[in-house]
């Protein structure tokens, strides 16, 4: 794996710390946590103490400084060395929950909500998707009705990462009329009466990460928790999606790289017809195809990251990077299972899990089809 061209020696130093943490704290437990559908809550504190939880967030709010490229370097190493995608994405739910507060929240909101999360003391989740629809964000129906100094929130959110254990949920609600102009963002503390976790969901992959359905039943949320102005929530949601897509593309590159590494090692070791299966040209060519597609998705993702850091609008490019990386990741994980033969279908093998994890990516964070809608709009056809 070549070092990305935009990375500095400081990125490498950071990667080294992330590798060290993942090897010591995640890797020995990866299978157990995936099978248990949960990782211990203490891990949030441990990763924060190691200085890795706040990477990419401003130091004045308890973050570690750095930018998206640093955050991506950390999550890549965590996936490669920890080998539990579920744990890494569970730990990382703040990466979609915190940015809207930092981008559009008041000083008081940033001070109140962000530092405890980055210190690993509180868990943050983002709740946009509803049982009635996820792609059509502008059509969401969870209602927030102003009543004095509060909003009374009623509705249901689903597929919410870290939802069962979250302390704060950055929630998209309808405060106005239909369409995107009636949407606001509220920070909802899960200790608020009327909030409940209605279901812990059972998933195909990402097992170590909990995913929940959340109910809001007359949940009285202080009006002070409104992010930005009323009915102005759609823009921060969309800005957040663009960033999430780059994180997702980065995850996919890391997952595929891991599946590839596992496959190379396995192909060297496994014997068939008296030789290593890497001795068959067809296996070597599979690996070569995997490596090529990973390199291509990595290059596009890195380009999108660099342009985004330069301040360019990367709405379409991020959507392209996401689709390229998610397609690539599914292809690579599928080939990885194939190279592993029957063992690739067994739960003790990392590639079995990666294959299941990979399937999420063309769905979560905006579907493959919605990405193409975005690209179409920007391209103007």
């Amino acid at each position: 794996m070549a070092t990305p061209l935009h990375e500095t020696p400081e990125h490498e130093a950071l990667r080294r710390e992330a590798r060290r943490f993942a090897k010591a704290q995640i890797l020995p437990n990866a299978l157990a946590w995936e099978e248990a559908n949960e990782f211990p809550k203490e891990l949030y504190k441990q990763i924060a103490d190691a200085g890795l939880h706040g990477v990419g967030y401003p130091e004045e709010y308890g973050g570690g400084g750095g930018d998206l490229s640093h955050a991506l370097a950390v999550s890549e190493e965590m996936i490669l060395e920890g080998k539990s995608v579920g744990t890494v994405v569970g730990l990382g739910s703040h990466a979609i929950a915190i940015p809207p507060i930092l981008a559009c929240g008041s000083e008081a909101q940033k001070k109140k909500f962000v530092p405890p999360v980055l210190r690993g003391e509180k868990i943050a989740a983002l709740a946009i998707t509803e049982p009635g629809g996820g792609s059509d964000v502008a059509g969401l129906s969870t209602k927030a009705v102003r009543d004095g100094d509060h909003y009374v929130v009623t509705g249901t959110k689903t597929f919410i990462t870290s939802g069962t254990r979250a302390d704060i949920v950055t929630t998209a609600v309808r405060t106005g009329g239909p369409g995107h102009a009636g949407i606001s963002m509220l920070v909802i503390e899960t200790s608020t009466p009327g909030f409940s976790v209605s279901k812990k969901l059972h998933k195909m992959g990402w097992w170590a990460s909990d995913t929940a359905e959340l109910s809001f039943d007359g949940c009285r949320v202080p009006a002070a928790n409104l992010i930005g102005d009323e009915n102005s929530g759609f823009v921060p949601i969309m800005m957040n999606f663009a960033r999430e897509r780059l994180l997702i593309a980065g995850n996919c590159v890391a997952i595929a790289e891991l599946a590839y590494r596992e496959s190379v090692a396995y192909a060297r070791e496994r014997k068939a017809f008296g030789k290593s299966i890497s001795g068959f040209q067809v296996t070597r060519h599979k690996l070569a195809d995997m490596a090529s597609r990973i390199a291509a998705a990595r290059a596009l993702t890195n380009e999108a990251v660099v342009r985004s850091l330069r301040g360019e609008a990367v709405t379409a490019l991020a959507a392209m990077a996401k689709n390229t990386a998610t397609d690539m990741c599914m292809f690579v994980c599928d080939q990885a299972v194939q190279i592993h033969g029957g063992y690739g279908y067994m739960r003790e093998y990392v590639v079995e899990r990666l294959f299941r994890d990979a399937r999420l990516y063309p769905i979560g964070g905006g579907t493959r089809e919605i990405m193409n809608e975005i690209i179409s709009k920007v391209e103007g056809y």
Partner: protein, 275 residues
């Protein structure tokens, strides 16, 4: 307290299979190897940081830690990592990896100690590449300093240290007066292994070597890193150890399954000649 910590980079033992020896057997091919700091040196640095900070608030520095390494320009990565972890200052002694041996490093360190005048030289018990376990001992001899090797615990007292060493059947505690040379073993990074006079007796460190957070990594770029020529420290750069050749260890043969205990004993006696 001022502490000098010598650091060495070693080829990552996790990638030992990448170590290549050319057909001539004259050398070990180091290009393409991944480097990491020698683990015992990292433990020494962690112990040095613990001795030079206020245990009640472990982030507050209360002393100076100077790290030094020998090697080409690239070895500055190892020094920057140490600065990010918390060391205050770094020195690189410019040298070629294969023009060094333990004795020469110890002689050069002696000259450096005379310049820097630390209270304590704290170092790993050995480097995991050559496993020589020599430099600390030679250095103490050359300086005529008290020495404690394989430290598992350290407790600061006025003008010196109480050093616990694990030996067969128990622990020996040595009292060393500053200035001294101490080499450390793995257990020195356990939560209650190191206490300075400022550390509260009930204080527990996190197990292992601390992590460097991104702000510290960034700040390390600006910490002082000086370059010194080997010739300035050691007029005589002769080597006591020269290598006659390198050879990869023979590939391991497949194991066998023994039928029962009698079979095992017979084989140990007749084939392995171990009994």
């Amino acid at each position: 307290m001022k502490i000098l910590v010598p650091l060495k980079r070693v080829a990552d033992p996790d990638n030992a299979n990448k170590v290549k020896i050319p057909a001539s057997g004259a050398t070990i091919e180091t290009t393409g190897l991944e480097w990491k700091p020698n683990p015992f040196d990292e433990y020494a640095l962690e112990a040095a940081l613990r001795l030079t900070e206020d245990g009640k608030a472990p982030k507050v520095r209360a002393g100076e830690v100077v790290v030094v390494t020998f090697g080409p320009k690239e070895t500055e990565t190892t020094l920057r990592a140490a600065l990010a972890t918390g060391a205050d200052r770094a020195i690189r002694v410019d040298a070629a990896d294969d023009k060094l041996d333990g004795h020469l490093v110890a002689r050069a360190l002696k000259a450096l100690v005379e310049r820097e005048k630390p209270d304590l030289v704290l170092m790993g018990k050995q480097a995991v590449d050559g496993d020589s376990n020599q430099v600390g001992q030679i250095l103490a001899e050359q300086l005529d300093y008290p020495m404690a090797t394989f430290a598992a615990t350290m407790k600061e007292e006025a003008g010196g240290l109480l050093v616990g060493r694990e030996v067969d059947g128990g622990v020996i505690t040595l009292r060393v007066k500053f200035p001294a040379v101490v080499t450390v073993d793995l257990r020195i990074v356990a939560p209650t292994s190191v206490y300075s006079m400022k550390t509260a007796p009930a204080f527990k460190y996190n197990d292992g070597v601390r992590f460097a957070a991104l702000p510290a990594i960034m700040a390390a770029k600006k910490k002082p890193l000086a370059e010194v020529k080997l010739a300035d420290l050691a007029a005589d750069q002769g080597l006591r150890v020269t290598y006659h050749g390198f050879q990869a260890p023979p590939a391991r043969k497949a194991g066998i399954k023994v039928k029962d205990v009698t079979d095992l004993v017979n084989r140990l006696k007749n084939e392995a000649k171990a009994l």
